[in-house]
């Protein structure tokens, strides 16, 4: 019989990662996930009706949780600067609209973003470790990370080696996360926040997603994140629900709170509401802030702004009343 998870977690946490075998036993001892039940729970939370004052609260909260993202081969300093301006003041016609949590760029754009965001509270997040595939040697991944941190990144979004994970080399993934975490340290002793991306679309099963979540949290992730946005299947409500349950159980077992970031495919206000309802009813107030929950998104922001304008003015504006970036 698999062990009783939180209790086993407390007792087994220290040794869980002491060898390939113990780590494997621990991760495979986590309770299973019934896919049908998980999906129906996520779907039923999606039927909540968020209206009027609740909607206004949720829209502003969602805006403040966005990691406004541009991760294109065609990115230029000009494009990044324009995105930074938007992150700081999303709605030029309404200064009461909150700024986004962060902007998310490739490491070579960090310096540009850092300068453009100077003096604002918007964080600079950089994807690193041979994003999005993660197919590079450890030294390359660490150098990628260190360069982004040195250029002024506040947060690092790393990808796990899905190949290693799927072939059962959990300890290798664990040690890589630890190494990247070490590379996030700055000379002054502080550290960039580490978000660990699982690329859940490639892990395929919910059981794998739960194991990856615990693996990353044990290795020291500050945030766990679903996807890169670069594969066919990105964040979905059921996958995100698995992550939410994992951080809830992890805090219960260890006292350590970890953040969650669904990314990719979240485009509408309605989608964002569904995610916030999931956070609210799975984790509650403690996670309802940009410190603990983020959306990795780009087009979501404009839809939130249009809905926000509709709530304040009473009429729909349209895509020409929000900015193209």
């Amino acid at each position: 019989m698999p062990p009783n998870p939180p209790a086993a977690a407390v007792a087994g946490l220290a040794e869980a990662a002491s060898s390939e075998a113990t780590l494997r036993r621990f991760l495979h001892g986590l309770p299973g996930i019934d896919a049908v039940g998980l999906e129906s729970r996520a779907a039923s939370l999606g039927t909540r009706s968020i209206k009027t004052s609740a909607k206004a609260y949720a829209i502003d909260l969602a805006i403040s949780m966005i990691d406004l993202t541009t991760l294109e081969g065609a990115d230029t300093p000009g494009k990044v600067r324009s995105l930074c301006a938007k992150a700081m003041r999303p709605d030029p016609s309404d200064s009461s609209a909150p700024s986004t949590a962060a902007i998310c760029v490739y490491p070579d754009m960090v310096a540009t973003a850092r300068t453009a965001l100077n003096g604002s509270r918007v964080q600079v997040a950089a994807v690193a470790t041979a994003f999005p595939s993660g197919r590079a040697g450890l030294p390359v991944k660490l150098a990628d990370t260190a360069e982004a941190v040195a250029a002024g990144a506040d947060e690092i979004d790393m990808v796990i080696d899905r190949g290693a994970f799927l072939s059962g080399r959990y300890l290798e993934v664990f040690e890589m996360i630890q190494a990247v975490k070490a590379a996030c340290r700055r000379p002054d002793g502080s550290s960039a926040h580490l978000k660990v991306i699982f690329e859940t679309g490639e892990l395929q099963t919910y059981d794998n997603v739960r194991r990856a979540s615990w693996l990353a949290m044990l290795a020291g992730a500050d945030f766990i994140k679903t996807s890169t946005g670069k594969v066919a299947v990105n964040a979905t409500p059921p996958v995100t629900l698995v992550l939410l349950e994992a951080v809830r159980d992890f805090r219960e077992a260890t006292g350590v709170q970890v953040g969650v970031k669904p990314a990719g495919g979240i485009r509408t206000t309605k989608d964002a509401m569904k995610y916030l309802v999931m956070v609210n009813e799975t984790l509650g107030d403690d996670w309802l802030s940009p410190d603990w929950f983020r959306f990795g998104a780009s087009s979501l922001l404009n839809d939130l702004l249009m809905q926000r304008q509709k709530l304040t003015t009473g009429r729909y504006s349209g895509p020409d009343y929000v900015t193209v970036d």
Binding site: P2, D34, V36, L38, T52, L61, T312
Partner: protein, 506 residues
């Protein structure tokens, strides 16, 4: 946290309400409070001040003077006066059904199917109206009537419509014949769905019916009568007579009926069986239950907790197959109970018409009294009672979701059907013990098994004496799947191919 909404007015969204939002976040309440999202009461259509019966295609006055009042259980406000059907009313209805039977049973199956398909489509078209009306009359949340009851009602008519011209392939021999006039008495917990379960197979097989809805929830059945007219259903094929148990007794004991179908309490079912003993009248009964929901230590815990909640708090626990006994393996008892309490604290209790309400009102004062009596007995017998902190509305019939731990098999709450949002938790150590405890009840309607081990699911399912065994899920229904009980939960099956048998002369 549960947030009761007593206001049922349709608040128009205003910009003013919107800008107040950020302040609400700092007032010490929960950060993310859902604003009221009420469905419109007006969507239920017009509710008449008083109703008669529906006999031979017409709405007619009762031959008696006595009336009953149906109330909105969430507010205790009267909705309408309904007729207390007399023996004479029942006579008229049975005579109308008898007359219609000759031509209805002679119709080709494909023609009967057309009427049923038409009824199914009209139900879909009018589903919002019916859902709101059902919520108002029954007290169940609009989320359930909208997302569960009404889709199931339509699905049932669609499913049996499809059988109407294929009866010779149903396995009951060539050209199976209908029974005749069916007397059908249905309960108040799923008024329209129970109507569908009764009427759809009866009509598909060529019978005509006289149906008596429960006295506390007659409105959707009367609205269904309108739908029969709208569908052009021939006169007398469906007749609806309202009233309480006296009307039901007159109907089920009527010498002119060939078949009685009853869903309700075991006591009434027993009385009907006594009345019909020795007669040629066919009988099917779907009665009470005290289902065991069995959670093994290798279960998918998060989904099991959802299944427990769905099993006992769905429809306020007014479900004959509710998972009212939780049997949890001792080694995971504390973990499961912690998770269950945490989940129960997020249930939203209040206005049934609010789209975010999870648990609505108890259907009647009488049922509320019964739930209180049994839960008081549970406490008196030494079980430990727990409910999440929730404010219940001050008017109407309400009962907070409740869980009893430390329940032993001798307690009344472990043996008697409560038919309310009350869960009794027992423990077991081995699969054998789980089976023995699960089967240790006079009932046998349903059971649930939660384990990730496939072989154990099959091992359990073959030993549990229950008409339905759900594995890693609970309260799942489908028109294609037969439903019915063992022992005191009744006999006969409804739904699926098996459901045809009750209405065929085989």
């Amino acid at each position: 946290m549960a947030t009761p909404k007593t206001s049922t007015k349709t608040g128009k969204k205003t910009a003013a309400a919107a800008v107040e939002a950020p302040r609400a976040a700092t007032s010490g309440r929960k950060l993310f409070e859902y604003a009221p999202a009420p469905e419109s009461r007006a969507a239920a259509g017009e509710i008449a001040g008083s109703y008669g019966h529906y006999i031979n295609g017409e709405f007619v006055e009762s031959t008696g003077k006595e009336t009953l009042t149906t109330v909105d259980p969430s507010t205790e406000q009267a909705l309408a006066e309904i007729a207390q059907g007399t023996a004479k009313d029942v006579d008229r209805a049975v005579a109308a059904a008898r007359e219609a039977f000759t031509s209805w049973s002679a119709l080709p199956g494909a023609e009967r199917g057309k009427y049923l398909f038409r009824i199914a489509r009209i139900i879909q078209e009018r589903s919002r109206e019916l859902a709101v009306l059902e919520s108002i009359d029954n007290g169940k949340p609009i989320r359930e009537t909208r997302d569960f009851d009404l889709p199931m009602v339509a699905a049932h008519f669609f499913y049996y419509a499809g059988w109407a011209d294929k009866l010779e392939f149903a396995g009951y021999g060539p050209n199976p014949r209908p029974v005749g006039v069916a007397a059908q008495v249905i309960p108040w917990n799923f008024p329209l769905m129970m109507l569908a379960w009764k009427i759809a197979p009866a009509l598909a097989t060529g019978n005509t019916v006289v149906l008596k809805p429960a006295e506390t929830t007659p409105l959707t059945a009367l609205r269904f009568a309108e739908i029969c007219r709208q569908a052009g259903l021939p006169r007398g094929v469906v007749n609806i007579v309202t009233g309480d148990g006296r009307t039901g007794a007159a109907l089920t004991g009527h010498p002119g009926v060939d078949k009685v179908a009853f869903t309700g309490s075991t006591d009434v079912g027993r009385a009907i069986a006594r009345t019909l003993a020795g007669s040629r009248t066919k009988l099917s009964l779907e009665l009470g239950g005290k289902a065991a929901n069995i959670v093994f230590d290798d279960a998918p815990i998060d989904q099991a907790v959802e299944g427990i909640v769905n099993g006992i708090f769905f429809n306020q626990g007014h479900v004959c197959c509710a998972g009212s006994r939780l049997l949890v393996q001792e080694s995971v008892h504390d973990e499961v109970m912690d998770a269950l309490r945490r989940r129960m604290a997020t249930l939203r209790i209040g206005d049934p018409l609010d789209k975010n309400t999870d648990v609505g009102a108890i259907n009647s004062a009488a049922q509320l009294a019964r739930i209180r009596e049994l839960t008081d007995a549970g406490e008196a017998e030494g079980a430990e009672r727990w409910s999440p902190a929730c404010e219940l509305p001050t008017t109407g019939y309400w009962f907070a979701p409740t869980v009893f731990t430390g329940v032993s098999a001798t307690h009344r709450i472990a043996r008697e059907e409560i038919f309310g949002p009350v869960l009794s938790v027992l423990t077991f150590r081995t699969p054998e013990e789980a089976v023995a405890k699960a089967n240790n009840t006079p009932y046998g309607l349903s059971a649930g098994v939660w384990t990730e081990k496939g072989s154990r699911i099959l091992w359990m399912a073959s030993r549990l004496k229950a008409g339905v065994v759900w594995s890693n899920t609970f309260n799942k229904f489908d028109p294609t799947s037969p439903f019915g009980g063992y022992k005191e939960s009744g006999y006969g099956r409804e739904g699926g191919r098996h459901g045809l048998e009750a209405y065929l002369n085989v």
